[in-house]
Symmetry: C2
Subunit: 395 residues, 2 copies
């Protein structure tokens, strides 16, 4: 059996390439004056990350989780490399189509879709949809009759750095009911999906989740559902200096575990977002103020021209800790609390665990915030406090 589920032939397996360094990015930033905080992305790094993941994932198809960073040049780079795309909304589907990406390469992966957006996707030729509830299947059957669907499972907590809540997925014991319901509605129940949680640093963290999904898979087969696709979602990590594994070997290890549980014949679909573009970008920012609030304070406060509302939303609860470098890193370092420029008091980036930065840092100094290619530019507010959204430059 070798069913290509949506006419899309999947990623090309490249020879495992060397991933270039961020030298070119850093040189560009050092040589450029920025009026506002700016995310600079290197498209060569995007291509290299794609090649490394594609190599590790073998014959799985990659659907880029474009919500991570839908910058046009990134989308074009991945389009030209043969990637598929995981879209979260009508807006994202429209963007794909405008870039000439065929509908057969687009998956409408959000389990929460407006009826009119399902109808739009169907009309545009998208045939692959996610669901985790009867009510969603009914909407899909009504507005995209005969569509291919996969059922998203709710799997337990993992060790991911940005774990997913109970928001998505049905309980494993409901999966069979939903597969039955999909069939009764005339839909094509292709398989199952799950998500281990964003920024899952080591491949071995997938074991428990994969075991749970495999149990549901086996049960479905015993009940007569000839499932033929497993969507392993995202979770592919970025190295934030915290020992995340390298993309190619990580992906290969995940695939080895997937094949061991689901067999060699089943179609595998992966949705890397952060793992594909996170390491390909650096934010160029600027120190606005460095001060001490009280004589008894152990820490300085360093305020940047970028904060939680202008691109660094993932610092919430200090979940993601970006590496920060400056042009004074050869000078003496000391701890500081790092905050954004807005008048909102929650706009503090790192306070529980202060950041070591040069003691001589002062207003006007340039800083680089590393591995910020994913989940930054689109998280930025439209104009909170009158600050413009994060600018993006692709080199």
């Amino acid at each position: 059996m070798n069913v290509t589920f949506s006419g899309f032939s999947g990623a090309t397996a490249f020879a495992l390439p060397e991933i270039p360094t961020t030298e070119r990015l850093e040189a560009f930033i050092s040589a450029t004056d920025f009026e506002e905080p700016t995310l600079v992305v290197d498209r060569q790094l995007v291509a290299a990350q794609y090649a490394a993941l594609a190599h590790g994932l073998g014959n799985a198809t990659i659907h880029y989780a474009m919500k991570a960073n839908p910058a046009r040049e990134i989308m074009e780079t991945l389009r030209d490399l043969g990637s598929g795309f995981d879209a979260a909304s009508r807006g994202e589907i429209e963007q794909c189509l405008a870039l000439g990406i065929p509908a057969s390469r687009i998956s409408f992966g959000n389990t929460i879709k407006r009826a009119r957006d399902i109808a739009f996707a169907h009309q545009a030729g998208v045939t692959l949809f996610a669901a985790d509830a009867e009510e969603e299947l009914e909407k899909i059957a009504a507005h995209a009759p005969g569509a291919q669907v996969y059922i998203r499972l709710l799997v337990g907590a993992t060790e991911a750095d940005w774990p997913l809540s109970r928001k998505f997925g049905c309980a494993p014991e409901r999966a069979l009911e939903l597969l039955d319901r999909a069939n009764a509605l005339g839909l094509d129940s292709l398989g199952l999906s799950f998500h281990v949680g964003s920024q899952t640093r080591r491949a071995d963290m997938w074991v428990e989740t994969l075991d749970r999904v495999a149990a549901v898979w086996a049960k479905a087969h015993r009940a007569g559902h000839a499932l033929r696709m497993i969507n392993i979602g995202g979770g592919f990590p970025v190295d934030y200096g915290d020992g995340a594994e390298a993309p190619g070997t990580y992906a290969a290890e995940v695939m080895r575990m997937v094949r061991a549980r689901f067999g060699d014949q089943v179609e595998v679909m992966a949705e890397p977002g952060r793992g594909l573009v996170g390491a390909a970008g650096i934010i160029a920012a600027e120190v606005v103020l460095a001060s001490r609030k009280s004589d008894s304070d152990l820490c300085r406060w360093v305020y940047l021209d970028i904060g939680k509302f202008s691109g660094l939303a993932e610092t919430e609860d200090e979940a993601i800790r970006y590496e920060i470098t400056t042009e004074r890193d050869h000078e003496a370092l000391g701890p500081c609390i790092l905050a954004g420029p807005s008048c909102d008091s929650v706009d503090v980036l790192y306070e529980k665990r202060p950041v070591m930065l040069p003691l001589g840092l002062q207003a006007g100094d340039k800083v680089m915030i590393h591995a910020t290619g994913a989940y930054t530019s689109t998280y930025a507010s439209v104009g909170f406090n009158g600050f413009p959204p994060l600018a993006v430059v692709v080199i």
Copy 2:
């Protein structure tokens, strides 16, 4: 002594008006089909809130914290009523100027300002600046020589619903040093500022903060600083159905306490944001999915077309609980977990304390999210998950 500190004559004291109901807003929303979630603001309500606050605040000047909602029609309404404006950035100052608001009515109230933005404000004629650090005073002296400054104090935690952290303000024991430094730099040290914390529901919650600031004030006077302005910041609440006091009486009680501590001659400046426009807006949204994730779940999940990343950021930690009404509110109610439409698992609005909504609620139903005129539209992300920013309509 009756020094008008920046040539701006302050708010007109109106007779305390009746604040109109939201009937007109609700009728408009009921009669309108919205393609996307939309904040609808009633400019009559903005004007009535302004009149009520101006009445309560007496001869204090109102500087609208425009970051709460800088929609053009709101700004024009307040401009025409004689309001001043508290700007957080160059972008906000530019917006004021474009609307014909004189620079004398604008305060650059952010304590974290880029040197080039200070220079811009100075060039444009803005003379009033906030500071909480020597380094900031030095920037102001260099780029806006001779400017009027007020020193922001860091005052302790309050009972506010959206309390401010240690991000802003100097420790009280440093205030005198900063006033001295400002004078030495040739700046005009006008006075002090503080913030009790956003959404401080009752006027009596101000007592402790006012006492602390008054102690610094007295000490500064003893040290020879003839301070002549106290900026009481914001904190004016909105009634989210949680028993916040009415704006006019609340403001009058705050002013009574301020006058008791700082005297009748001192200039008072207030910066309401939420308290001015929060109650003047309702978001029209739509149910995208209502489902149950597991047979054992006690709660349904209700997913709206708006969430944390598209306008409802203040639901973070369930800090602000908006009232939600539907067209089925006469039907039987039951608890639900409320979530947004994005593929981000943190995009859950209320889960710790579920919301009571009609059991019959289903995809496509219209919902109204009340008292959402402040801190919604500008918090919205520029396009996370491909969803457009929150639309705003002013009637």
